[in-house]
């Protein structure tokens, strides 16, 4: 029971933060899907990992909303890859999500710290 609850929380947190994570990773440079997935895994120290089956639908959804834009790009000596870059609208959304997330996290922290005090 406890295990199920944690799994659900984990999944919901992942789902809720997925957009924020993907947008953050393309904020400063264009990246392809595998790189985005890998970076999420590495920077979360393996705590968060998206499989291709959920990563790509996420990217397509963001693209469809016009927050990121994908483009096939060829680099010297490499095969062509699909790179995603953030759009102006995406930046606006990222700013909003980031502050919402930070507000949420600090609120949680304040609540949970009180519990521990």
């Amino acid at each position: 029971m406890k295990h199920t609850f944690l799994a659900t929380l984990d999944r919901e947190l992942k789902k809720g933060s997925a957009e924020l994570l993907a947008l953050s990773l393309v904020e400063h440079r264009a990246r392809h899907g595998y790189e985005i997935g890998k970076l999420i895994e590495q920077r979360s120290l393996g705590r968060v990992r998206f499989k291709a089956a959920s990563l790509y639908p996420l990217l397509y959804r963001l693209e469809e909303r016009g927050w990121i834009q994908g483009r096939w790009t060829e680099r010297a000596g490499e095969r062509r890859r699909h790179f995603y870059r953030i759009t102006a609208a995406g930046r606006t959304v990222l700013r909003a999500q980031r502050s919402t997330w930070e507000g949420f996290v600090s609120a949680i922290r304040r609540i949970t710290e009180l519990e521990h005090a």
Binding site: Y34, K51, Y56, P57, G70, R71
Partner: protein
């Protein structure tokens, strides 16, 4: 590396994704799996483990499929251009653009309707007029290599004669000039009564020389052309008839070998010409010329200009070279025969120019220009409308740009909308063009060649498409360019007050309106000049009283009225019989009817008694008119001096003549003409005593100058080709037509009366091309004015809608409503004035084109220009009033709140 694509395709197969999209996803995912696989292998997994682990990435792929399916559905519903990367094939994108364009247009029915109508009007009018120009000016002639065909004419600049007939001897010289001409043919036009196939009818006959069919390269539709022996006076007289006469009089039956009678001469038909393939156009019967019958003077005299001619240039000889050769021959003749050929030269007229009246050509070209101007104005208006919409859509465009749509993509989308709009406009235009063409044909002056050929044709459709393309360029690209430079920040901000696109588009719109007004000014000026000229034309005094007079032609056959006395008696009988009728006030016969009513004035030159013959002294030219005594009374030509002819002027009495005032003044300046004696020294050479002087009369048409005339009594010069004129006692003279026919048939059942029409009709007909040009140009100018006023209204309302806040502040600071009115009116009138300045400059050039169509009116006519300015000013003022009222009634608080 394992192959993933087959696996991936299977998993995505039932999603029904677009093929290109599916291929992209498959490629992207298989790259992902490649990377994962490589990573696992680097970490030490064997091939089988790595492959399984990589495929685990696709675990829960039912969720991926759901997600993708959802995306696919939402993608179909979304507006495709919104930020979507440009990855689809061009055709797919185009189809999307068209669909989105159609939806967008349908969402704004007001805009779409206005724009479609404006474009439709422009395109329709252009196409209709182009069809007429195409038929009359551009259509290929019905003769092979018609560009080599020229009509030689005699020209005398000093006497303002630019296309007189030529002499028999001149044509023989040109025939000899084989280095210039391939062949030259002679022809003599006649009008003869045809007996067969119904009531007697006057038909146009051309007597042609041996080379005629070779020059024009005509092959008959049936039968044969002439052979050498047909020109021999001893052989049976044969002839060809045209397709028109064949169908009209003989019902298209077999006529080859049949004998008909022309002026009671038997003629055997040997051929029928194909439709329209004949020159001159009016020809209905072609007979062989039998020059052996011509007298010595006809064949050798160099001043006997009674023949028509048609020449085919030798291949490789340019028109200029041929013209120069003919002029050089004429110059040699003028030196050799100074008395009769001084001042004369010859020129070659292209056959098309000979067929199409110069005034008509000018009128059509002016109309084409005018209609193109209307099209441009319509396009400018559509561009204006589109700009209003575009600035209203600035936020939409900015959002699309911010969502990743490229600028090129936006422009493409807008161009697609314009293409749709133009296509709709072109459809409306084509629908309008058909009735417009019918109206053009119905209103055209009678005798306009090729009018039967005015119809929808590929060239016209091409012209419509070209017009549409211009419309697209103007109405699509300008707003697209001006819109896509929108700054994102501007558009995402609320309100339009500080928006860059609004200011820029206001400027662009101002420029468009100035252009519209400019083009309108040119049209208005031309229309004003033509209206004024036409007003003068209809009020012009022709020198005769034309109401209640009817005329008709007859030719008295010399076969039955062989001598002068017989012809005189017959003419006298006609006049007497008509005068005796109660419905007729007066009747007479004449060889030349005023205001273009027909017949012809024989040009002759005169010397007064005692004056030396040229070159020792000058002779005076005048046209010769043979009349019966009641002629002057019938037409109401006032007698200035002396007397008119009476029944006592007979063949046996002293020869008499009546002259027009202008002739009397030129022949006897400062003296009285009555009692003097003059002779037509080069032909009749008989002294005639001037017994009267009458007023000048406009003979050839209302727009023509009075020409010096002399009148001689029919009893002393009994011509056979006469016209009967009769004045009704009251009412419409047209009712006299059957009376004329009946009366003449009673006197001679074999005689036809042709071309029966009232003098009023003839007068109207003589100014038909001017009326045509005036009417059409006025309609076009009115359309242009309406469109320009719409433009002024649009831009003024728009500018002051943008400046609502400023107006509110002004009001709040104490400006009166009159101040605000002034503000708006000044703005609108400033635009108008700028357009006026540009248009006036254009008009100075453009009105030179219509100068030839103007009667007694200078292109700089002050009243016309004033009328133009007044009309434009009134329209502009009216166009500004509504926006001004709206601006002045804006409550300060409301205006400020709107911000």
């Amino acid at each position: 590396m394992p192959e993933w694509k087959t696996e991936l395709k299977q998993r995505l197969a039932d999603l029904d994704l677009p093929a290109s999209r599916e291929a992209e996803i498959v490629e992207e995912l298989s790259q992902h799996l490649d990377d994962r696989y490589a990573e696992l292998r680097r970490a030490g997994a064997d091939e089988g483990e790595a492959r399984r682990a990589a495929l685990d990435e696709l675990a829960e792929s039912h969720r991926m499929r759901m997600e993708l399916a959802r995306l696919r559905r939402s993608r179909r519903a979304a507006v495709p251009v919104a930020g979507e990367p440009t990855r689809g094939r061009f055709g797919v994108r185009l189809w999307q653009d068209v669909r989105v364009g159609a939806r967008t247009l349908l969402r704004r029915p007001g805009f779409t309707l206005a724009a479609t109508l404006a474009l439709g009007l422009g395109i329709g009018a252009t196409s209709a007029i182009f069809a007429a120009v195409d038929a009359v000016l551009l259509r290929p002639m019905p003769f092979p290599h018609a560009d080599r065909l020229y009509v030689p004419v005699s020209v005398n600049q000093a006497r303002h004669i630019d296309s007189a007939s030529v002499t028999f001897a001149d044509v023989q010289d040109w025939r000899g000039a084989t280095e210039t001409f391939a062949a030259v043919a002679l022809l003599r036009p006649l009008e003869l009564d045809l007996a067969e196939g119904g009531d007697p009818e006057r038909v146009h006959v051309s007597q042609v020389s041996e080379d005629f069919f070779r020059v024009l390269d005509i092959t008959p539709a049936a039968g044969r052309t002439f052979v050498a022996e047909d020109h021999d006076p001893k052989s049976t007289l044969v002839g060809l008839i045209t397709d028109g006469l064949w169908r009209r009089r003989f019902g298209g039956t077999d006529v080859i070998g049949r004998t008909i009678h022309l002026a009671e001469m038997p003629v055997q038909i040997v051929g029928v010409l194909p439709p329209r393939v004949v020159w001159p156009e009016s020809t209905e019967v072609v007979l062989p010329m039998r020059s052996a019958l011509f007298g010595e003077d006809v064949r050798t005299r160099r001043d006997n200009m009674i023949f028509g001619a048609i020449a085919r240039l030798k291949d490789g000889v340019s028109a200029q070279a041929a013209d120069a050769a003919v002029a050089a021959m004429a110059a040699r003749l003028a030196q050799a025969e100074p008395v009769i050929r001084k001042g004369w030269t010859n020129a070659l007229v292209p056959i098309r120019d000979d067929l199409v009246d110069r005034d008509l050509r000018v009128a059509l070209l002016v109309l084409l220009g005018a209609v193109a101007a209307v099209l441009l104005i319509a396009c400018a208006n559509v561009a204006n409308l589109a700009l209003v919409r575009a600035s209203g859509r600035a936020r939409e465009f900015a959002l699309r740009l911010s969502l990743g749509a490229s600028r090129a993509r936006l422009i493409q989308q807008l161009v697609a909308e314009s293409v749709l709009l133009t296509a709709a406009g072109a459809l409306v235009g084509a629908a309008l063009a058909v009735p417009a063409m019918r109206a053009l044909v119905a209103m055209a002056p009678e005798g306009t060649p090729f009018l039967d050929a005015v119809h929808l044709n590929p060239r016209m459709l091409l012209a419509t498409a070209a017009a549409g393309a211009i419309a697209v360029l103007i109405s699509g690209l300008l707003p697209a360019l001006s819109t896509s430079v929108v700054q994102l920040g501007d558009a995402l901000r609320d309100g339009t007050g500080g928006s860059g696109v609004s200011r820029r588009s206001a400027r662009l719109r101002g420029l468009l309106v100035i252009g519209e007004v400019g083009a309108t000014v040119v049209l208005l000026t031309m229309a004003a000049l033509l209206i004024r000229s036409f007003g003068r034309l209809v009020r012009v005094d022709p020198g005769v009283s034309i109401d209640r007079v009817i005329s008709g032609r007859l030719s008295i056959p010399s076969a039955r009225y062989q001598d002068d006395a017989a012809r005189s008696r017959f003419v006298r009988a006609i006049a007497d019989r008509l005068e005796a009728l109660p419905e007729i006030e007066a009747a007479a016969l004449t060889s030349f009817v005023p205001v273009g009513g027909g017949g012809f004035g024989l040009g002759r030159v005169f010397l007064a008694e005692g004056r030396p013959e040229p070159p020792a002294g000058p002779d005076i030219g005048a046209q010769w008119n043979v009349v019966t005594p009641e002629y002057f009374r019938t037409l109401g030509i006032p007698l200035r001096e002396g007397r008119v002819f009476t029944s006592r002027d007979t063949a046996a009495s002293p020869p008499v003549i009546i002259v027009s005032q202008s002739f009397a003044k030129r022949m006897f300046p400062g003296q009285t003409a009555v009692g003097q004696r003059i002779r037509s020294w080069r032909d009749e050479n008989l002294y005639r005593e001037i017994v009267g002087v009458v007023d000048d009369v406009k003979y050839t048409g209302l727009s023509e100058q009075e020409i010096p005339l002399v009148y001689v009594p029919h009893t002393q010069n009994s011509w056979g080709a006469m016209l009967v004129v009769a004045r009704a006692r009251h009412g419409d003279p047209a009712a006299l037509a059957p009376v004329l026919q009946r009366t003449i048939a009673e006197l001679d059942p074999g005689l036809a009366v042709a071309q029966i029409r009232t003098l009023r009709e003839s007068a109207d007909r003589s100014i038909a091309s001017q009326r045509y040009a005036m009417l059409l140009l006025s309609v076009l100018a009115a359309a242009a004015l309406g469109l320009a006023a719409l433009g002024i209204y649009g831009v003024t309302s728009y500018v002051f809608a943008l400046r609502r806040r400023e107006l509110g502040i002004r009001l709040a600071l104490g400006a009166t409503r009159a101040n605000l009115y002034g503000l708006v009116l000044r703005h609108g009138l400033r635009l108008t004035a700028a357009g006026l300045a540009i248009g006036a400059a254009g008009s100075v050039v453009a009105t030179r084109l219509v100068q030839d169509l103007l009667f007694d009116t200078a292109a700089t006519d002050v009243a016309s220009w004033a009328a133009m300015v007044a009309t434009l000013g009134a329209a502009a003022l009216a166009a500004c009033l509504l926006p001004a009222r709206r601006a002045a009634s804006a409550a300060p608080t409301g205006a400020l709140r709107a911000e």
